[in-house]
Symmetry: D3
Subunit: 138 residues, 6 copies
Amino acid sequence: MNQSIAPNRENERFQRGWDKLREIDGEAGERVVEALADIAPDFARYLIEFPFGDIYSRPQLDLKSREIAVVAALTALGNAAPQLKVHIHGALNVGCSREEVIEVVMQMAVYAGFPAALNGLFAAREVFAERDAAEAVE
Amino acid sequence: MNQSIAPNRENERFQRGWDKLREIDGEAGERVVEALADIAPDFARYLIEFPFGDIYSRPQLDLKSREIAVVAALTALGNAAPQLKVHIHGALNVGCSREEVIEVVMQMAVYAGFPAALNGLFAAREVFAERDAAEAVE
Amino acid sequence: MNQSIAPNRENERFQRGWDKLREIDGEAGERVVEALADIAPDFARYLIEFPFGDIYSRPQLDLKSREIAVVAALTALGNAAPQLKVHIHGALNVGCSREEVIEVVMQMAVYAGFPAALNGLFAAREVFAERDAAEAVE
Amino acid sequence: MNQSIAPNRENERFQRGWDKLREIDGEAGERVVEALADIAPDFARYLIEFPFGDIYSRPQLDLKSREIAVVAALTALGNAAPQLKVHIHGALNVGCSREEVIEVVMQMAVYAGFPAALNGLFAAREVFAERDAAEAVE
Amino acid sequence: MNQSIAPNRENERFQRGWDKLREIDGEAGERVVEALADIAPDFARYLIEFPFGDIYSRPQLDLKSREIAVVAALTALGNAAPQLKVHIHGALNVGCSREEVIEVVMQMAVYAGFPAALNGLFAAREVFAERDAAEAVE
Amino acid sequence: MNQSIAPNRENERFQRGWDKLREIDGEAGERVVEALADIAPDFARYLIEFPFGDIYSRPQLDLKSREIAVVAALTALGNAAPQLKVHIHGALNVGCSREEVIEVVMQMAVYAGFPAALNGLFAAREVFAERDAAEAVE
């Protein structure tokens, strides 16, 4: 791992968070972290330590449910399309089916309106296409 | 059921929605519907038919996951406290534990900030108190 | 008019705005202005000059359409209930029927979700009750 | 019409909605529906049935007012630019002038701020350019 | 400090955060923390550790600027009135004048609209009244 | 200055606003104004008169604090990326350091979530790159 992102690797929260980030997001999450290295490396560290080291590592809720929650929230908010895509990937990585992801996004038409749900469906379509393309080259 | 809310009771979507509303929200959901009877009875009908008759009745996603999704979304949006409370009740009614509800709300601190999560936790506390009071009188 | 709110009464924009505010909102709008007199009198002046003196005075769109637009937007935003109520009053004052107001609010279920529309309908109900009570004492 | 989108063509709500969608949005609306055919055909059906079959078909509010309401709401929300463009087209299709559309968007500076209104004006400009280009080739 | 909120008092981030919370919010901030003790004590800990222990403790930006930023953001978001009040108190505690707070809130009329600014001004007025009442009993 | 944007140049608010716009935003702000000339010239005038002529010209809060407030608010709102970039430029123009801008944006993770802060950091990076490129050609 890039040393400038991880100045203090014996930090228990950081290590736990890094492992959780890799488990859920694979390389997509790592790329977001590296994108921050030149502009706000401290923020990359916080991103790993708090969301992943503290919250996602908590055992009281399973990862599938956590990713369903995030996909729902980001679809409803409608202003974070890049992160919504990262989490649709994450949901699929931890065991949600494409059908389940689509159901969560569609359901947001009830709580945030049809535009929010439509834009979430278009984000899901991009994610599915990226995954199909990645599988095609394996 | 109040006839003015259900002008066309043989409507398959309405009946399916009414049954689903009762399954998830029990009487809390029925009270919202009745509150609309004098001002917008057609909207009460749409509320039963589309969210419950169409969306919640879909089998591709279980009710626990659906309520987790809504609690997350409404916590993140932060502007629908009454409906968030109805759905925290709903989540508990369909099998989520209080601990799981708290986890979903806390997780929203990552996606919508600490104020949104705090206000969601305060809503959850009100719901728990209502349920404790209701059980106390049984 | 309170001199502290209108330091420069020969200001054309202010006078035009004051007249427009009274035309649309009657006394409800004036009360909002007076509520600001002790904490931010300059802001009361801006409120009269820009929204009412500049925007609402423009002839290219009629007042009924303008109030429909505001009721829709504030219902969708879901975080400005006091102002939504002022504008439901305003819509009724400039010629919208209660039925038309209800239609606009219900339509927002499509664009901002059912919670936003529900909360808008509850605000409308409060406004109708206030107007019924006011008429009862006349 | 594509059979996969309309499995049950004798559905009264669907047919009414399809006709209303074509009346307001012409081909732009149909394209959104077809874009969903591969990822969420059921959602395309809901989109036609509820917003258009149920809400837009209601006679209590005219289509011009309905499109003014949507343009206002989506400008204020600021997170649904594609749908805002579809509805600016819709507003023009049902009889609003370009001047009236611009007025509605500008007015949103008062209720959602200048950035929201600016981005709405830029969306309107794109729509006007699309329409000018389409007319140029006729 | 309540032991149930601070299970690990030698935690450097927690101690730093607790001191910073007291410096900015005095007792108002402590009360929010205690309010969580029964429902989500872990969240109270995160609230102290990340926002205060990590972010507010950073020296690269002064506390006055930080509180100006929060008052602006919460006014613009318009859906977190309790937290906006806590931070208006915080801004005044760290050296902002009442006049400066009012300026920040008024400025949000440009970026989030007049309703958001109005509701922020009403929150500020409540805070000023609370502080005047507190001083009166000293 | 283009006469169609400034029909009434002796207007005190307009002149004051135009000078303030140039002081804060330099040419970036002027370009936004000119972009409106063909579609809504009146709105360009309002943009100069109210935000800049009225609000930004007020002496009770310094420009650095005002730009910190806007960068915070637009980062939190998350739906006005173009305007956020204009104001990051503005903050740097009036004396904020790049480090201070990054701090404000990072802090928004606490109040609007990590996605909002991330997208704000990416906007800041674009602005820094634009400024580095501009300096390179001088």
